[in-house]
């Protein structure tokens, strides 16, 4: 299964992924609408945080959603069906990667742009790659995501 794999030592903190993500999905630019978000940890490194689509988790968001609006829609991405979301926020709490967010009354998360992720197209030094999962990289990302929660 292919997923967006973050590489913590490479991320430059340019935030092109963040900006392009919200522009693609919402037609505007706002980190608060970003499915991928970059966190700066002092001068040491920057951490891109994004959903791994179950490659490295047990799809906790899917499990906890009381109305089952988080589903594997097209076979490669876990998606929030916006119209059905009741805005309870359970998934946000449950995600071990801090990769699902609420704004207003809806949850939203990365859906891999229907298989062709926009963020990847803007990451010049390949700090995020779209490939078969790399468990070690996900482990590090999880620790980092925990630290920025």
């Amino acid at each position: 299964m292919r997923a967006i794999v973050p590489h913590l030592d490479i991320c430059t903190g340019c935030r092109m992924c963040e900006m392009a993500c919200s522009l693609h999905h919402e037609g505007l630019v706002n980190r608060e609408w970003g499915r991928i978000r970059v966190h700066r940890k002092g001068i040491e490194h920057c951490v891109p945080v994004v959903c791994n689509q179950g490659a490295s988790c047990d799809k906790e968001c899917v499990k906890v959603c009381p109305v089952e609006c988080i589903r594997d829609v097209n076979g490669h991405a876990v998606e929030v069906v916006r119209e059905e979301c009741i805005g309870c926020g359970e998934c946000v709490e449950a995600c071990p990667y801090n990769a699902i967010h609420m704004r207003g009354d809806v949850a939203f998360k990365c859906n891999l742009c229907d298989g062709d992720p926009t963020c990847i197209k803007f990451c010049s030094l390949e700090a995020i790659t779209f490939e078969e999962s790399i468990p070690e990289e996900f482990d590090r990302a999880k620790d980092a995501a925990e630290a920025v929660r």
């Binding site: 030592d9 092109m16 392009a20 706002n30 197209k121």
Partner: protein
């Protein structure tokens, strides 16, 4: 208005009043953003002959128009005020998130006036704006200050000063996430207002005029940048990439306080040597896919644990060659001191080099220097002196005034050793061998500067944009050249685009980007006219402060001491060449021989 936040935020630290007002639509088309808004509001809000370190000076934070959008390298934001170093307009651009965050908080511009009675910091969280106590932060270095604020404010983007700004060092800078608004003493302006930091959190949407088209444009320019031949070298070696070329091939790397133009220890400070050993990762400005910034780290020895963003070309010159110092770890430590204390590394290095030069000729003694052996190339002396400058101790107190004022204090002929234009210590281009660049140093509105025009690239390669066959040793045609380049580069600072992208955008690219983000239609010539307008306005500000033709002069050393060795050997700018180029420039600008804009010029530019 698409692309704009639509409001201006004004804070007065004396009365503690906070005012939010709509962005005047009349200014949008004529100034657009960034340095355009900054120049207009500086001119309109700072009374003439205001004390740069007094309450009536206004500190302006101006995001570039494109800040926040994924236009590649469009993340540049600037601070502006009247300069305590030069008495002219000061503005300094940095690649930090501060601008986009301010826009997302809902403001296209922030003006801070007045003076707080005690240390404070400004906290902006969308509509919520507070002036908070900074008693506990005063005295802390830039990194600790930002960390402390972020500990309580989470994701806020923090710009702050170090002790140099608190101590009113005339070239103190403002730091934001290890990037600096470096030149002209803007940190001292903050210090004078007892303003330790500005913290911004913004959660609003930035809505472009045409989102689909914008995505397409961003991808196109991104692709061009990433595929360009320079991508690899820029990201691997950073701005110092062309050091050997500047030093050996061109002979224009100012060395030992401009006694020489070639540094014999070049290979020890060349990024081709040190990047593979010390570089940890790339560190980008907001929105930059081809980052020249990098994190330099030392893991062993006495500086183990050191981390800086650098070492940038300019500081390889000022803290390295100019001081005759060729030890890369000591240089990194000097760079770190400047960053932590909040000192402009160019001016600080130049001040140290100036002192070393006086020491060599016996004008300053060991006693004057508090016992320091100020020989060129002595790293201990350099580091100690930087510390003394930031703390304003002993000789450091004199050097904290900048080389111009310091030489006036020291006397004894030291004026001849002070290399500056309008009081600003110059960047790393030995203009005796780059004549057009000499003119650019002279004409820059903030004092000796390479970035108002970026003429070095054209001069040294012979071609750029609409210019071809340019000869760096000739003075022909330089007036028009510098005028046109200044107007073009000003557009970069209006939009907030990096000038290292000058090969990618130019006026035609900006027409597209502007339309897509704002819906405003501009022709190429209208964009350039906007640049011209802004430059004239900055000049009018300087004139109002009493600037005269004499203030455009080069310092004596560059007029009398030819470069002794290397590829530019024997070259100097003569008095005659200086005057000829300045006459040409004034004419190209439509100004009189004394530098006064003709009435029709100001009228044509809507400045009358």
């Amino acid at each position: 208005m698409k692309g704009f936040a639509g409001r201006i935020l004004k804070i007065d630290l004396t009365s503690r009043a906070v005012e939010k007002s709509p962005l005047p639509e009349s200014l949008v088309r004529t100034y657009l953003g960034g340095t355009g808004f900054a120049a207009r509001f500086l001119y309109d809000n700072v009374p003439s002959n205001a004390d740069a370190l007094g309450p009536s000076n206004v500190l302006i934070l101006a995001p570039g128009l494109l800040n926040g959008f994924p236009v590649p390298t469009g993340g540049k934001v600037l601070f502006c005020a009247k300069s305590p170093l030069t008495g002219t307009i000061a503005e300094s651009v940095m690649g930090a998130r501060l601008g986009s965050e301010l826009k997302r908080a809902g403001y296209d511009l922030l003006l801070v006036s007045g003076m707080s009675g005690s240390p404070c910091y400004v906290y902006i969280d969308d509509d919520d704006v507070e002036i908070r106590d900074a008693g506990d932060l005063w005295g802390k270095d830039t990194r600790a200050t930002a960390e402390d604020i972020r500990r309580t404010e989470g994701d806020a983007v923090v710009a702050c000063i170090g002790i140099a700004g608190e101590n009113l060092v005339r070239y103190a800078n403002i730091d934001c996430e290890d990037r600096q608004s470096g030149r002209g003493g803007l940190g001292a302006v903050m210090g004078s207002k007892k303003l330790k930091a500005i913290a911004v959190k913004g959660t609003g949407d930035l809505v472009p005029h045409d989102a689909d088209k914008l995505m397409e444009l961003c991808l196109r320019y991104y692709g061009r940048m990433v595929e360009s031949p320079a991508f690899n070298d820029d990201t691997k070696y950073g701005t110092g990439e062309f050091l050997e070329w500047m030093n050996s091939e061109k002979g224009t790397f100012p060395t030992r306080n401009w006694r020489e133009g070639v540094f014999d220890d070049r290979e020890k400070i060349d990024p081709y040597y040190w990047a593979p050993l010390y570089m940890k990762r790339n560190n980008a400005c907001l929105a930059c896919p081809k980052p020249c910034g990098r994190i330099f780290g030392i893991d062993e020895g006495r500086y183990a644990g050191l981390r800086i963003d650098g070492i940038e070309y300019e500081l390889l010159y000022s803290l390295g060659g100019l001081c005759g110092m060729g030890d890369i770890e000591e240089l990194a430590r000097a760079n770190e001191l400047c960053d932590l204390h909040g000192l402009d590394g160019i001016s600080a290095g130049a001040a140290v080099a100036f002192a070393m030069d006086l020491f060599q000729d016996g004008i300053l003694t060991r006693e004057d220097a508090g016992g320091l052996n100020l020989e060129f190339g002595n790293p201990e002396a350099e580091l100690k002196l930087i510390e003394m400058i930031a703390r304003r101790e002993g000789l450091g107190d004199v050097l904290a005034e900048g080389v111009k004022r310091a030489s006036e204090r020291i006397g004894k002929g030291s004026e001849d050793y002070a290399v500056h234009v309008k009081g600003m210590e110059p960047p790393a281009y030995d203009v005796r061998g780059i004549k057009g660049m000499a003119l650019a140093f002279m004409t820059s509105s903030r004092g000796a500067c390479h970035l108002r025009s970026c003429a070095y690239a054209l001069e040294l390669t012979g071609k750029f944009w609409k210019f071809e066959g340019v000869d760096r040793f000739s003075t022909e045609g330089k007036g028009v050249e510098i005028k046109e380049l200044e107007d073009m580069m000003t557009v970069y600072d209006v939009l907030g685009v990096c000038k290292f992208s000058r090969g990618f955008f130019l006026a035609e690219g900006f027409v597209d980007v502007l339309r897509t983000v704002t819906g405003l239609e501009f022709s190429e010539s209208e964009i350039l006219e906007l640049g011209e307008r802004v430059n004239n306005l900055k000049h009018m500000f300087n004139l109002r402060e009493g600037l005269t033709r004499d203030d455009f002069r080069l310092p004596k050393r560059l007029l009398t001491l030819p470069i002794p060795e290397g590829a530019s050997k024997g070259h100097v700018v003569t008095e005659e060449e200086m005057n000829k180029m300045l006459d040409d420039y004034f004419e190209a600008r439509g100004w009189s021989k004394d530098g006064l804009p003709a009435e029709e010029k100001t009228r044509d530019l809507d400045l009358a």
